[in-house]
Amino acid sequence: MNSLMARRAVNWIMTGLCGLALAIALVPLVSLLWLVISRGLAGLSWSFFTALPAPVGETGGGVGNAIAGTLYIVGIACLIGVPFGVGAGVYLAERGDTRLGDGIRFIAEVLSGVPSIVVGIVAYGLVVIPMRRFSALAGGVALAVLMVPTLARSTEELIRLVPHELREASLALGVPQWRTSLRVVLRTALGGIMTAILLTVARAAGETAPLLFTSLNNQYWNWRADQPTASLTVQIYNYAVSPYAEWHDRAWTSALILLLLVGSLALAGRLLSRRRVR
């Protein structure tokens, strides 16, 4: 019987189930954050940020070189990936209503679903094999390849969010297309694009798989692009799968630092976009 009572009961049950989904989703998050913070804080010290990793059995040491390496690799990735990613996005938004544009958009979409480990292999073939060594550059290339399709898609969407009328308004004022694109359309979408870049960078900084056999790892400081370079994520992985309990602790502390790094990038992006909305 489909009485009103029954219908209302169904309503409440479904609402309850959906609320339950929220609770379930929050359990791992809380657990994870709690552990990272509690176990990570335990090992945190100033030297952890600055020192080189200590060998097994020694106390102290840090992941200074890994932090620097992550920033270094990501910096290289940005230098390569941002211009191409944003540029391709502008192309898709401004000239992408053709067959070719459709194809490129489709490919960008598919590419953003390609597993990062696969991209690692590509960077390996592209940089490591010719250079005959693992290098920061290889890691940067891998991350850049990952960034380009996502950036292209989000840049396109952000530009498309700019009302078509705005473009027409500018054209109707007798402004040439290129100026309209740069000074009206891109200008309007700029805040959003900055946010997109920050979020993409945050994601790249958290990548591990493509770095495993591109930038590899390094126990020392390195500022050369053609040398293997440490990174926080790889370092965490190495610590985590090691059999030593104290390295496990360092894994947690490194994870905390990684989260802070990624989190602050994402937060900056959010703040930027919020200011834009206002």
């Binding site: 209503d97 009302p163 705005l166 308004a169 500018s170 109707a172 004022l173 007798g174 200008r187």
Partner: protein, 250 residues
């Protein structure tokens, strides 16, 4: 008197869709031409042909001539970018540049083209022409999106006026506005006629009746009748016009 705008057997297509069929009409200088007709009859397409915005639509093409001051818009020498400065346009939805201040919006057409000039004086003049000066003179440096819908629309008119066009095209400029804001815009249009030639598209027959000197009635891409506004509304020649203005359509 030579007409300000002359359209000779204009045809326009969107891909295979024949949106305008053989339209010919003339607009004398300093008059207001209103375009009326049911939805989809080609009103927007028509005005967009007058400043070559039509050709920006992918797959769009056209034939026939549009002459402004006797000069064919599609002549080799005519640069559409330049042309659009002479033939301004105001759109259905107010579209001020959201990242710019009120002031910058008004001078946008000049700044974007790198034209120098006495910007403050020009801003005041344009805003006065658009009957907005008194409402915004104390907050020219505020963002344009802080204005109400009707004010934004007048800002867009000021922006179009700042580049000193000879012809102003308006595509349903008041359809998103409330009656009061609409009345303001209508008054403005009549005022602007002193210095410009205006073509306005409207789906509101009464509005056409109020603001225009002559009215053109479009139907299914054809120009059915074009004549003095009063005649179109009190005594049209064509029975289809009569049917439309008296509400006997469909």
């Amino acid at each position: 008197m030579r007409p300000k705008v002359e359209v000779r057997s204009l045809n326009a297509w969107f891909k295979a869709n024949h949106a305008l069929r053989n339209v010919s009409l003339t607009v004398p200088a300093n008059t207001v031409l209103a375009i009326i007709g049911p939805s989809g009859c080609g009103k927007t397409t028509f005005v967009r042909c007058l400043n070559r915005m039509h050709e920006l639509v992918p797959g769009a093409c056209q034939s026939g001539n549009v002459l402004v001051d006797g000069q064919d818009l599609h002549a080799r020498r005519v640069d559409p970018v330049n042309l659009r400065r002479r033939v301004g346009m105001v759109f259905q939805r107010a579209n001020p540049f959201p990242t710019m201040t009120i002031f910058d919006n008004v001078v946008a057409g000049l700044k974007l083209n790198g034209v120098r000039g006495d910007y403050p004086a020009l801003v005041e003049k344009s805003l006065r022409q658009a009957a907005l000066w008194d409402e915004v003179k104390d907050r020219l440096r505020q963002s344009a999106v802080s204005l109400s819908g009707g004010q934004q629309q007048r800002l867009c008119i000021a922006r179009a006026l700042a580049v000193d066009p000879e012809v102003l095209l308006m595509d349903e400029p008041a359809s998103a506005l409330d009656p009061i804001a609409t009345a303001r815009i209508e008054e403005l249009i009549r005022g602007l006629r002193e210095s410009l030639t205006i073509v306005i598209v409207t789906h509101n027959m009464q509005q056409a009746a109020r603001v225009s000197d002559s009215t053109a009635f479009f139907y299914m891409g054809e120009l059915i009748e074009h004549g003095p506004t009063e005649q179109i509304f009190t005594n049209p020649r064509e029975s289809r016009t009569e049917d439309y203005v008296t509400g006997k359509f469909g």
